[in-house]
């Protein structure tokens, strides 16, 4: 097993490094996506980025440029305060999701690419991370993560109580836009190797585990990040040993970690209840 790990680190250092950076950044940003109850933003932006990559491939533009341009448009649209309008944000997200998923497949089908390209576009493949992919991920995601952690206070206050935040001088529209912009950048840069499903998994499953296990924001974020790292390394290792697709193996690992957390929490509560009842009987 140790030999397998050594081989894995030797053969796929780029995949491991990319997985670690993507899972960490997405886990941190994803906690706020769940708290703001806009989980659907994650999958929609992933689909928008995939559509951008497809357009980029079809028109010979760099995938990141295609993904980022389209994601930026979606982010600007999403930062509009839909709460006060007839169409809720979720419905707008749904429309964008349907349009971009369908457009991505149409563009690829007319571009002369085969089924393999379509699958790679939708599911990505972390194990095939190239040096160029890793550089892009490092140059984009690391600054995004530092920015997010540096300005976590105004972002949290904006999300926590928008109206009150306005009264204490926080420019809520700006912080909201910056958050979605950071999310858009992350998804755009990570989409090519991680694919829509794995990005959505990192944005939702690991943060959900954090929220399940911890009661303080810093611990929620830490568990979310650790869960992302654990599922990435375990998933890559599993896919390597069993010769199965890497991104799906990571996603299953993340869900397994979440279910384990759920079971641990259930057992903990059961034990606490039994203890209380025994005390009451005595």
């Amino acid at each position: 097993m140790t030999d397998d790990f050594r081989t894995l680190f030797t053969l796929f250092p780029h995949a491991l490094a990319a997985g670690v950076v993507i899972s960490t950044t997405c886990a941190a940003l994803g906690v706020f996506t769940i708290l703001k109850r806009v989980v659907f933003v994650g999958i929609t932006l992933s689909e928008v980025a995939a559509c951008g990559i497809a357009l980029g491939m079809a028109y010979h533009v760099k995938p990141f440029v295609g993904a980022f341009s389209l994601t930026l448009l979606a982010v600007i649209l999403l930062s509009f305060p839909f709460e006060s309008h007839r169409i809720p944000r979720d419905a707008v997200l749904g429309v964008i999701f349907v349009f971009t998923s369908a457009l991505a497949v149409l563009v690829v089908s007319k571009s002369g690419f085969g089924l393999h390209e379509v699958k790679a576009l939708i599911y990505g493949d972390l194990i095939l991370t190239s040096n160029e992919d890793l550089n892009l991920i490092l140059w984009v995601l690391v600054p995004v993560l530092f920015y997010f952690l540096a300005f976590i206070r105004p972002t949290l206050y904006t999300f926590l109580d928008r109206e009150y935040a306005k009264t204490i001088g926080i420019r809520v529209a700006r912080w909201e836009l910056m958050y979605f912009f950071a999310l858009g950048l992350t998804v755009s840069a990570a989409s090519k190797v991680a694919g829509a499903i794995l990005i959505f998994c990192y944005l939702v499953v690991n943060p959900a585990t954090g929220l399940l296990l911890a009661r303080r924001l810093k611990w929620v974020m830490l568990i979310s990040v650790l869960g992302g790292l654990f599922s990435t390394i375990a998933g890559i290792f599993w896919s390597f040993r069993a010769d199965i697709p890497t991104n799906q193996a990571i996603s299953i690992m993340a869900c397994f970690f979440l279910l384990s957390a759920l079971a641990a929490r259930f057992v903990h509560r059961l034990a606490a209840n039994l203890k209380r009842r025994r005390k009451e009987t005595l």
Binding site: Y157, D161, E163, I168, G169, R215
Partner: protein, 235 residues
């Protein structure tokens, strides 16, 4: 429409509302409201649900733009303390009562600055005053309705604001706790010179506390003597 503090010379006006119209979806919520609010007054805004009390408070705070008219104040935005209804915060957020209170110090701390000793003592003092100390490390979602309300009041108080604007602050409190909170707010006005504007749906609990009441009905505002309201019912 201007008001005086009971008996003495009028205090300087710190908020002047001049022919204010606020609309939502083309319907006027506030209709030609003019009001001068002096410094240090305890002013309950009473009226039935949907009469425009919350809209008036939000307009004073600058949260909504008037369609017509203006609101003038000599104060900075940071000198206002706002207590929204406790449904404003999603209980899903893993933030403690202490963190909720710290939010009120953001104008001083900004995105990065850590709390100084003075600010820590201020937070501690407010928590003790509002009997929140034992709940300091509980998350907002774990608190009862009344304690949530107290935490939001504490958040407004930590920055020591000149004007306190409260939207139904006793709606989730039992009668005794509600009276306690109102008494505390009255004390802030009487003994510390704070201006307290409080939206309240029931007149009975507040008419004994203030010299004047602001009746809000169908988007219009009327200042009345609280004594004259004794025994009367708000339509």
């Amino acid at each position: 429409m201007s008001m005086e503090m009971g008996g003495g010379a009028p205090n300087r006006s710190i908020i002047a509302i001049d022919h204010l119209f606020v609309s939502y979806d083309k319907a006027d919520i506030l209709h030609d409201v003019s009001l001068e609010i002096p410094e240090g007054v305890f002013l309950p805004l009473v009226g039935p649900n949907g009469s425009g009390k919350t809209t008036l408070l939000r307009a004073i705070l600058g949260l909504i733009k008037p369609r017509k008219g203006k609101i003038e104040t000599a104060l900075e935005r940071s000198e206002f303390g706002y207590v929204p209804q406790n449904r404003a915060i999603d209980p899903l957020y893993p933030v403690t009562t202490r963190q909720i209170l710290l939010m009120g110090l953001y104008p001083k701390t900004g995105p990065w600055r850590r709390l100084g000793n003075f600010e820590k003592e201020r937070v501690h003092g407010v928590m003790e005053d509002l009997q929140l100390t034992e709940h300091a490390d509980k998350t907002f979602g774990e608190l009862s309705g009344g304690t949530k309300q107290k935490a939001l009041i504490g958040r407004a108080l930590v920055s020591d604001p000149q004007v306190l604007v409260l939207d139904e602050p006793t709606s989730d409190l039992d009668e005794k706790s509600g009276r306690e909170v109102l008494g505390r707010l009255l004390n802030l006005s009487k003994n510390h010179g704070k201006t307290v504007l409080i939206a309240h749906h029931g007149v009975e609990t507040v008419k004994h506390l203030a010299t004047r009441l602001c009746l809000v009905k169908h988007g219009t505002v009327l200042l009345v003597d609280a004594e004259g309201m004794l025994g009367e019912q708000i339509p």
